[in-house]
Symmetry: C2
Subunit: 216 residues, 2 copies
């Protein structure tokens, strides 16, 4: 397997955590999201990933090379094909609670705050830095406020009970990102506690952006 | 089962299609997203859905009422508990292609263009209508350009082959929304073709916003 990612991409960070939790090894290829107009837009990569986003996971199936995209679809695939160290609880209702937590980050918080959106605000809408930061904080706070309530109901040492799941895989990169943008975390004690616990595990530590070969 | 939705919400529209495809019946409860400061923010609803978003699906399990949130998590739950008329292909790679198509809409396109984001642009950032429309079109076009390529590779009469899946369930509400905002669809012949085919099926027709009891 070959993982195309970027050290600071939250979506690539999710896939790294999932692979580490399952002790899966992939060759890492860095796609620099800023240099040279963004390597994700270069033709060879765009051929592979129609959205021109990281991550992509190249796998071999029946002797053919195939490409998986979208971090949550990649992780669900890995969880089905490599069921050891399952990333979802087994009961359907529990599974839906975990998926909903993951989607709260992946569909409501992260999409509003990623690089291309912040670039659009600055370049197309002439939004000043201060208001851009307020935008960032607004969506993180909205997402974390809801997630904090869900963790109060369902968390153990992890987001859902005492085993790491897809929810933790989405949470930790989002907290990393929020701290980078100096979001005050004091209103989210459960998020802070779970995030801190995750970061005691080697699978999470090894996936941290600064621990990647392409980190600057 | 009881579905809390709103006629024009794309996320509620997705769940309606999924339930119709599976011939599942739920009592429909309308949560008006605009009137009265937005009924989704009223305490009774916020207790049930920490994100104060529609849809929510209330189910009964072991004699207890339980609430599912996040449209994709709800649909995956229904697909697991009611496997008849499956909404995902069975092979893991195919499944990941379908999930990735669904996530292209749910994580990249829809989140940037929903009501609360457009309200923030207008009220907090003083973005004029014309630039707000350009914002809307920009993200839809980016999403549809990528999705069009995936449909060219994988579509039959539906997004993936010849059976309706989670991808169609996400596509149709997004196209409905794009047309409401007058996005020029001529660059997306496969999207148009698949959308038109879906809308010949009673399951999709019955889920259309204008066919809901709370439609204005």
């Amino acid at each position: 397997m070959k993982l195309y990612g970027y050290w600071r991409s939250s979506a690539a960070y999710r896939v790294r955590i999932a692979m580490n939790l399952k002790s899966l090894v992939a060759e890492q290829t860095s796609v620099h999201l800023v240099n040279d107009g963004g390597e994700q837009h270069h033709e060879a990569y765009a051929q592979m990933n129609a959205q021109e986003l990281v991550p992509s996971l190249m796998i071999e199936e029946n002797g053919e090379q195939r490409v998986l995209t979208q971090s949550l679809a990649i992780i669900e695939y890995l969880d089905e094909v490599y069921p050891e160290a399952s990333l979802l609880p087994s009961a359907p209702f529990d599974k839906s609670i975990v998926r909903a937590m993951a989607l709260m980050v992946a569909c409501e918080t992260h999409p509003l705050n990623n690089l291309k959106v912040l670039q659009y605000l600055a370049c197309e809408l002439d939004i000043a830095d201060e208001k851009k930061t307020a935008w960032y904080h607004h969506w993180v706070k909205e997402g974390f406020t809801a997630l904090e309530k869900q963790l109060a109901r369902h968390s153990g040492v992890f987001c859902f009970g005492d085993r790491p799941t897809l929810a933790d895989i989405c949470l930790v990169p989002q907290v990393y990102n929020a701290k980078r943008f100096k979001v005050d975390m004091s209103a989210y004690p459960n998020i802070e506690r779970v995030n801190a616990h995750c970061l005691t595990l080697q699978a999470f530590i090894d996936a941290v952006p600064e621990n990647q070969a392409d980190a600057v």
